[in-house]
């Protein structure tokens, strides 16, 4: 007996909050093959037309590292006391920021990634989020391995707690992907909001201790902003876990993580109920 599917107006809005998550998780599990095929298509194929091929994945992080090291020796950066060489600190922090932006960017591109056949074929679009995230994780991992090698060269041995890495980056994913999903839906109908959001994120970079150390900031106002910024805790926690094997401010980290999780679940639901409505506008 074949399944009966019924399409009615606003049906998605009428599904319950928890039901939505169940449906989406089931869809993702059922679409493993599709995720793999799309990942393969977009990850490997993007390098097929270049002579250097996958080598490109290594080139950009190495160039990035060289520039930070150069700035350090030129004396432009005024480090405080970090316990590790300052370039290593900046390198690690900025690669974690990069991971966050990767989560955000890939989620923001969720609907865009399906263009080409989103109007032709029916499939659960949440798989695009998984595929996009997998893609940014794959890119990040390469960078990360290069970074760890550089850390070793600086004489920094990562803590054993680095094995907790996959867990401590989860809140970064929730926050980044949550924001990204929101933008993914909004960007179809209002490009302006997306642009504003991207500019704001560029500013958030400067109120997150990445290219400086929080304790060296004298301005009370800035310190306040840095303390209010959830990324201060999320990025700091990942960095501390790798370098020291412990997290400062565990309480704040856990609180921010929980909030990020709730935020993600809500935007996920928003994505589910509205993507339908905005797809028609994807012309």
């Amino acid at each position: 007996m074949s399944n009966i599917t019924i399409y009615t107006p606003n049906e998605r809005s009428k599904t319950g909050l928890f039901e939505t998550w169940g449906i989406m998780i089931r869809n993702i599990i059922n679409s493993r093959d599709l995720i793999y095929q799309l990942f393969k298509r977009d990850f490997f194929m993007s390098y097929k037309k270049s002579f250097l091929g996958l080598t490109w994945i290594f080139i950009s992080p190495i160039v990035g590292i060289i520039s930070w090291v150069f700035l350090n020796y030129a004396g432009v950066l005024q480090p405080g006391s970090t316990g590790i060489p300052f370039p290593a600190y900046v390198l690690l922090s900025s690669s974690i920021w990069g991971l966050f932006m990767g989560f955000y960017g890939s989620a923001a591109g969720t609907l865009g990634a399906g263009s080409g056949f989103i109007m032709q074929v029916k499939y659960p679009h949440e798989v695009l989020l998984v595929k996009q995230t997998a893609q940014s994780l794959a890119n990040f991992l390469v960078t990360f391995i290069v970074n760890i090698i550089v850390l070793l060269l600086f004489g920094v041995t990562p803590s054993w707690a680095i094995i907790l890495f996959p867990i401590v980056i989860l809140p970064l994913f929730f926050l980044g992907a949550g924001m990204g999903l929101f933008i993914s839906v909004i960007s179809v109908v209002a490009t302006d909001l997306t642009n504003i959001f991207n500019i704001l994120l560029g500013l958030v970079f400067y109120i997150t201790p990445i290219v400086y150390i929080q304790s060296t900031i004298k301005s009370e106002f800035l310190t306040r902003l840095i303390e209010l910024n959830p990324l201060t805790y999320l990025i700091g926690a990942v960095r501390d876990t790798i370098v020291y094997g412990k997290i400062d401010n565990v309480g704040s980290f856990i609180l921010v993580s929980l909030l990020s999780f709730v935020f993600f679940m809500l935007t996920w639901r928003l994505f589910y109920v509205s993507e339908h409505k905005v797809i028609e506008k994807m012309f």
Partner: protein
């Protein structure tokens, strides 16, 4: 399902559309906001600048049957298919679908140009909902049916558009849908492949598959479908037996075309004393601008000449809507020489059994003199319209010779 035999039931389906881009985006934003707050759903009322792109559409499709959807461009056919496919949600009404839908809306959707044909089979098959095992089982069949030779190992970017369609169609039909939505896909590709597709679709239907066919090719619709839904500007114009709906649609289009072109013909006089005063069409005895296939036809040319015309030649030509001259007859060539002509009178062009295909025709009448077909006195170029009605016959050629068929079997 209200009827267990049905695979698709569409009830009072409505879909909105906005022509203004900015307004459409604004409504999208407000819909998203409302969804976010979780209150005050879209009640299915039209807002400013919106109109129904589909209005109160109802139909059903039974298992193993074929439904044709016809209508002019922009009438909402593709939107309807997208709603049935679940890509767009309806704004009002309900759509119930039983079984897996395969859509041939744009074949080869999701192909990656840098991947080879083989790699794309896995990608596209998965997008269409096939499992890895399904693809492996059908793999050879897909390649054989697409029949694109060594190109299967080349990147899809190097394919001709025909090859892309071959491969795309082959994957789609082998994805074993229970309901196939085909939107104008069979109109492309070369003839050999098109025939192969028809056979495949026939095979698919014999095995119990249902199909919705959207096409401007009425022949295909008549041959394939038992029932037809005719949509005009989003509204059901007619729904029922394929032959009669197609007939009415054809008539509708022809009338519209002839309205557009009535009076488009040009009349050229070269001699003030000679006039063709009118042309009439007779069906049997009555004057009628509409004649049925197989009936007698008379074209009467009324003339008035105030001088003597030496060795005149009359010609009668008929052109179909594609501007092909279907007939062109000359009095002198047809063994009816006229020595001279003066005064008022008429000349009849008589046919016992009209063998032209049902269509709209434009009639050209000329008159020349001195036995010279280029010495024109009158030239009424496509100046008269008349219509041939199908009279229930089906014929796809330009003419039907009313043949006698005879079957003999060798013992």
């Amino acid at each position: 399902m209200k009827n267990p035999d049905n695979v698709i039931e569409v009830e009072h389906l409505y879909k909105k559309f906005t022509r203004s881009l900015k307004r459409s985006l604004f409504y999208g934003l407000s819909d998203v906001t409302r969804n976010m707050l979780g209150t005050n759903y879209d009640q299915g009322k039209l807002r400013k600048g919106e109109f129904w792109s589909l209005e109160d559409i109802n139909f059903t499709l039974k298992k193993g049957e074929a439904l044709g959807i016809i209508g002019q461009n922009g009438s909402g056919k593709t939107t309807l298919l997208r709603i049935i496919n679940g890509i767009f949600p309806p704004d009002k009404g309900e759509v119930r679908v039983k079984g897996k839908i395969g859509a041939l809306i744009a074949v080869g959707a999701g192909f990656h140009p840098h991947m080879t044909g083989r790699e794309n089979i896995y990608l596209n098959g998965t997008i269409l909902g096939m499992t890895k095992e399904d693809i492996e089982r059908e793999y050879e069949n897909i390649i054989n049916f697409a029949d694109i030779g060594d190109f299967i190992d080349a990147p899809v970017a190097t394919y001709s558009s025909g090859m892309t369609i071959r491969l795309g169609f082959s994957i789609a039909i082998h994805s074993k849908p229970e309901i196939l939505l085909a939107d104008e896909v069979l109109a492309v590709g070369d003839l050999g492949f098109a025939l192969k597709c028809y056979r495949k679709i026939a095979e698919y239907r014999e095995s119990g598959g249902s199909i919705i066919l959207v096409s401007h090719g009425l022949q295909l619709i008549r041959n394939t479908c038992k029932e037809v839904l005719w949509i005009d500007k989003g509204v059901t114009k007619e729904y029922g037996d394929a032959q009669s709906v197609c007939d009415h649609y054809e008539k509708f289009i022809l009338e519209k075309d002839s309205k557009n072109t009535e009076g488009m013909g040009s009349i050229i006089h070269t001699d003030d004393k000679v006039r063709i005063t009118g042309v009439e069409f007779f069906n049997t005895e009555t004057k009628n601008k509409e004649v049925k296939v197989g009936d007698p036809l008379t074209i009467r040319i009324n003339f008035d000449s105030q001088r003597k015309i030496n060795k005149p030649i009359f010609t009668v030509s008929l052109s179909n809507p594609e501007n092909i001259q279907v007939i062109s007859n000359y009095t002198n060539f047809d063994g009816f020489p006229i020595d001279s002509l003066e005064g008022k009178g008429y000349l009849d062009f008589k046919v016992d059994k009209l063998s032209l295909k049902a269509s709209e025709y434009k009639c050209t009448i000329t008159l020349t003199e001195n036995n010279d077909i280029n010495n024109h006195l009158e030239w009424h170029d496509k100046a008269y319209n008349f219509r041939v009605d199908s009279n229930g016959t089906i014929s796809y050629g330009l003419v039907t010779p009313f043949p006698q068929w005879d079957l003999k079997l060798e013992k």
